[in-house]
């Protein structure tokens, strides 16, 4: 995937950057992504909980990577065009709340630069301020001591220091310097960070990206660290296609074609005939030309014809042909062809005639684990988006799911506080249905909302309101092993203890899992406002534990209604849903 870009050499000399153009910006973005890539694990570990579910680093990395993927084949020195492409790519690829905020920060930069072909230090400063503004606006209740603070303080600092002598390099130098300082201050602004002894993870992610930008400006080679590709261990399961198989689905064919002066006139080359040809030999056609390069994507039974046709006017930069009967599983960050995304987005924006009649309501839910997935399907969910605490789906994952649901209204259950924003962003982009995000912050809220919904009602607002109402009564408690020693809320936690978490607070810590679970159950029921407990047992919990819990509940909370549900979830042996 990591194609060597050959045009960056044209970029302006970075040492005296009075103004910034598209070539250098692209280089900087690549550097930013590379820098975060090498630090993503470190950022993941900046988790306020001693629970192995931190994923901010990965979320932000995937978000910036979808931004640079969008300019991969772009060859333009127009900063507005390049920034727009980057921010658009990030918008679609945004994962997790930090990812969404990051994408909004870049969207602000893009807005700020939209009239510039080149940006001087003042224009860049203004754009950065726009970025901060938009990042803040993307959060309903902005909290300080977060990525927002880090962005705001550093931009304020850097802009204030702009003088007639300033260059883009000094601007970013100041920015990154203050970003680091601001990051170090986040524990002062946010108590949970201080208690956990970490700095804000989103802020750290932003810092590494901007640090990468800055390093490129200073002439450092941040970028082509080829080990970056390491996590993308793609595995091919060839068992689904044997000697007797029938070629049913054809080949996913993706080509990058360099138009050759010797064969055609690259400048005036018209891709319409090529498109028509591709539609003739296949489908899912995406084809566009950027300067002298044509990128195409087609699903076809006869890829050889496509190759032959293309060689009439060009030579191949890259060729990818995959048998679509064979399962290609790759790491989550490259599930989709980027061009498919573009394709889908185009489709999403076009009013399309649906072959099946639209039903009134459709449901998309984010779940993790077969048990919970089955449960949501039984409750009428049309499309499951795989994801959860350690794997936040992107805006685009949601759009993909929406497309599979032919409904007038789509209800979305993010089931995780860190996924709500990506869902909302997708809801805004998607045009083929009215999308209603039911902001379920955890699986318990989502479960209660969807199971109390009455989809026979005609008035969509009533349906939504009733779901939100039901959800508002819910308190969810998680049980998890602790992966490190910690002191929280005055409680000392040893690595290996079992902790109980309610609403981002550790409320229980015990040596044994059973004791922690019992305490959690009692805690949830103690104030008498809750009288019903649904207990999702995870993949590592056994029947005896459930039986023991049930006996405990009968004895200590005889009037409570208890329901056990096979959630099959990882990480948390029990999730308690009290209402």
């Amino acid at each position: 995937m990591a194609k060597k870009t050959k045009n960056t050499k044209k970029s302006s000399d970075s040492k005296d950057t009075k103004s910034l153009g598209g070539f250098l910006l692209k280089k900087m973005a690549l550097g930013g992504a590379a820098r975060l890539r090498s630090k993503a694990d470190e950022v993941n570990k900046l988790n306020v909980f001693p629970v192995p579910d931190g994923d901010t680093g990965d979320n932000m990395r995937m978000t910036i990577e979808s931004g640079i993927a969008a300019v991969e084949n772009m060859d333009s020195d127009d900063i507005a065009a390049v920034m727009k492409a980057i921010s658009h790519g990030m918008l679609l690829g945004a994962r997790g709340n930090s990812g969404v905020i990051l994408s909004q920060f870049f969207a602000g930069l893009s807005k700020g630069l939209k009239k510039n072909t080149k940006a001087d230090v003042v224009a860049m400063g203004e754009a950065l301020q726009k970025g901060v503004e938009q990042a803040y606006a993307s959060v309903m209740n902005p909290a300080e001591g977060t990525i927002l603070t880090v962005a705001r303080e550093s931009v304020e600092y850097a802009v204030k220091r702009i003088t007639p002598k300033s260059t883009i390099r000094t601007l970013f130098g100041d920015l990154v310097k203050e970003m680091y300082a601001s990051l170090e201050r986040t524990p002062e602004a946010l108590a949970v960070l201080k208690e956990a002894g970490v700095v804000d993870s989103g802020g750290a992610g932003l810092f590494y990206i901007m640090d990468g930008f800055n390093r490129v400006l200073n002439g450092e080679q941040v970028q082509s660290d080829e080990t970056e590709e390491k996590p993308k261990t793609s595995t091919v399961d060839t068992s689904s296609f044997g000697p007797d198989s029938v070629m049913e689905y054809g080949y996913c064919t993706e080509l990058l074609v360099q138009l050759m002066n010797s064969k055609t006139d690259p400048e005036s080359f018209d891709i319409e005939p090529l498109k028509a040809f591709l539609c003739e030999v296949g489908n899912s056609v995406v084809c566009f030309k950027t300067d002298s390069i044509v990128k195409l994507h087609v699903h076809t039974m006869t890829p050889e014809k496509v190759l032959e046709y293309c060689r009439e006017f060009g030579e191949f930069l890259t060729i990818k042909i995959e048998n679509m009967s064979v399962q290609h599983t790759e790491n989550a960050d490259k599930k989709e062809d980027k061009e498919d995304k573009k394709d889908k987005e185009e489709k999403a924006e076009k009013a399309h005639v649906s072959p099946t009649p639209l039903k009134k309501y459709g449901i998309v839910a984010v779940t993790n684990g077969a048990g919970i997935e089955g449960l949501f399907k039984d409750l009428g969910t049309d499309e499951i988006v795989q994801g959860g605490q350690t794997q936040n789906p992107s805006t685009n994952d949601f759009i993909d799911a929406f497309e599979k649901v032919p409904a007038e209204h789509i209800f979305v259950f993010p089931n995780n506080g860190n996924i709500i924003m990506a869902a909302q962003q997708a809801a805004e982009i998607y045009k083929n249905a009215k999308v209603h995000v039911i902001p379920s912050k955890n699986i318990g809220m989502g479960y209660v909302a969807i199971s109390s919904a009455d989809f026979s009602k005609d008035d969509v607002d009533t349906v939504v309101e009733e779901m939100k109402q039901a959800m508002s009564r819910v308190t969810t408690g998680y049980i998890s092993p602790s992966i490190r020693n910690a002191d929280m809320n005055g409680v000392h936690i040893n690595k290996g203890d079992t902790i109980g978490i309610i609403e981002k607070e550790i409320v229980v810590s015990e040596n044994s899992r059973m004791d922690a679970s019992k305490k959690m159950a009692s805690l949830l029921l103690e104030d008498n406002s809750k009288f019903m407990l649904t207990i999702f047992y995870g993949q590592d919990s056994n029947f005896d534990e459930c039986a023991e819990l049930e006996a405990y509940m009968k004895e200590n909370h005889p009037s409570a209604e208890i329901y056990f549900v096979d959630g099959g979830q990882a990480i948390y042996p029990f999730i308690f849903v009290a209402e």
């Binding site: 039984d378 209660v448 199971s451 109390s452 009455d454 019903m532 649904t534 209604e561 329901y563 209402e579």
Partner: protein, 288 residues
């Protein structure tokens, strides 16, 4: 004006001793458990024994009162020179009423000078019991048999039946509710709030999470629909869940004045279709 007697059947879920006190004879529906030939009358088994058997997996089958049984009962009073007003179990749920009606038609030929009137209460359990109670009150106030029959025929549409069950599986199994209506009950912890419509059919109105919420939803129906909440009559029947019945009564009484309160068992004949844990609540409203 000749003397008349009001008779009924055992689906009214009013205990035999109270019916005796009221002077109301009844014909009994019967039931038996699958795999067992022994047939029971409705009150042959205590409610807790009956529901225990169901919880253990017993499947109860019920049988309507037949025409012959009604003829025997009606004739007893006809031969005494009394007219007969029969209030019967909803035709929407059982053929019992139809048996009573046929018996009445046939006996009219044999006793042309007597009046025999059958009224389909379109009600069940203590809702049916409540209509019986109210009609009896009319009689005691001096209403003629025609007036009493007319009263019952009109008042039946004001009898609100609201109930919840622990598991819709029983209603579905007995064919008392359509499978689509039963679908909502497949989810753990989801409780349906149902009512009986003007045709005596069971309708699923809403679903709520948790039994306690369901009980509160029943109580709320009283706030919304009851006409006489100053000197109200509160008829509650339950399938071996007295505590819930009492909780329901307590919520109502917190807000409203209640003169007559009857908490009774949902007998086996109806319980066979609702399962243990049914909680039903009946009162007079502007409409059902």
């Amino acid at each position: 004006m000749s003397e008349y007697i009001i008779v009924t059947d055992s689906a009214c879920d009013i205990k035999p001793e109270i019916l005796k006190e009221w002077g109301v004879p009844f014909a009994s529906l019967t039931f038996r458990f699958d795999g067992n030939e022994k047939e029971y009358l409705n009150y042959d088994m205590t409610s807790s024994d009956f529901y225990q058997k169901m919880r253990e997996g017993g499947v109860a089958k019920t049988a309507a009162v037949n025409v012959g049984a009604f003829e025997l009962m009606f004739e007893e009073y006809l031969t005494q020179g009394k007219d007969v007003l029969y209030l019967g179990f909803s035709s929407g749920l059982s053929t019992t009423y139809n048996s009573g009606r046929l018996a009445a038609e046939q006996l009219k030929e044999k006793y042309p000078e007597r009046k025999i009137i059958a009224v389909d209460t379109l009600s069940a359990s203590a809702g049916f019991g409540l209509l019986l109670y109210l009609t009896l009150k009319k009689k005691n106030e001096g209403a003629t048999i025609e007036e009493a029959a007319e009263f019952a025929t009109k008042a039946r549409f004001n009898l609100c039946h609201w109930f919840t069950v622990d598991d819709l599986m029983y209603l579905k199994r007995g064919g008392r509710i359509s499978p689509t209506v039963a679908f909502v009950g497949n989810v753990l912890g989801i409780k349906p709030v149902l009512h009986m419509d003007n045709e005596g059919h069971l309708i699923n109105v809403s679903k709520v999470r948790g039994r306690r919420t369901a009980v509160q939803a029943l109580a709320q129906k009283y706030d919304e629909l009851a006409v006489d909440t100053k000197s109200g009559t509160l008829f509650i029947s339950h399938g071996d869940c007295l505590a819930d019945a009492e909780y329901l009564a307590s919520i109502i009484k917190e807000k409203h004045n209640v003169d007559v309160e009857i908490i009774t068992d949902v007998g086996p004949v109806i319980g066979a279709h609702t399962g243990p844990g049914v909680l039903a609540f009946f009162f007079v409203g502007n409409e059902r």
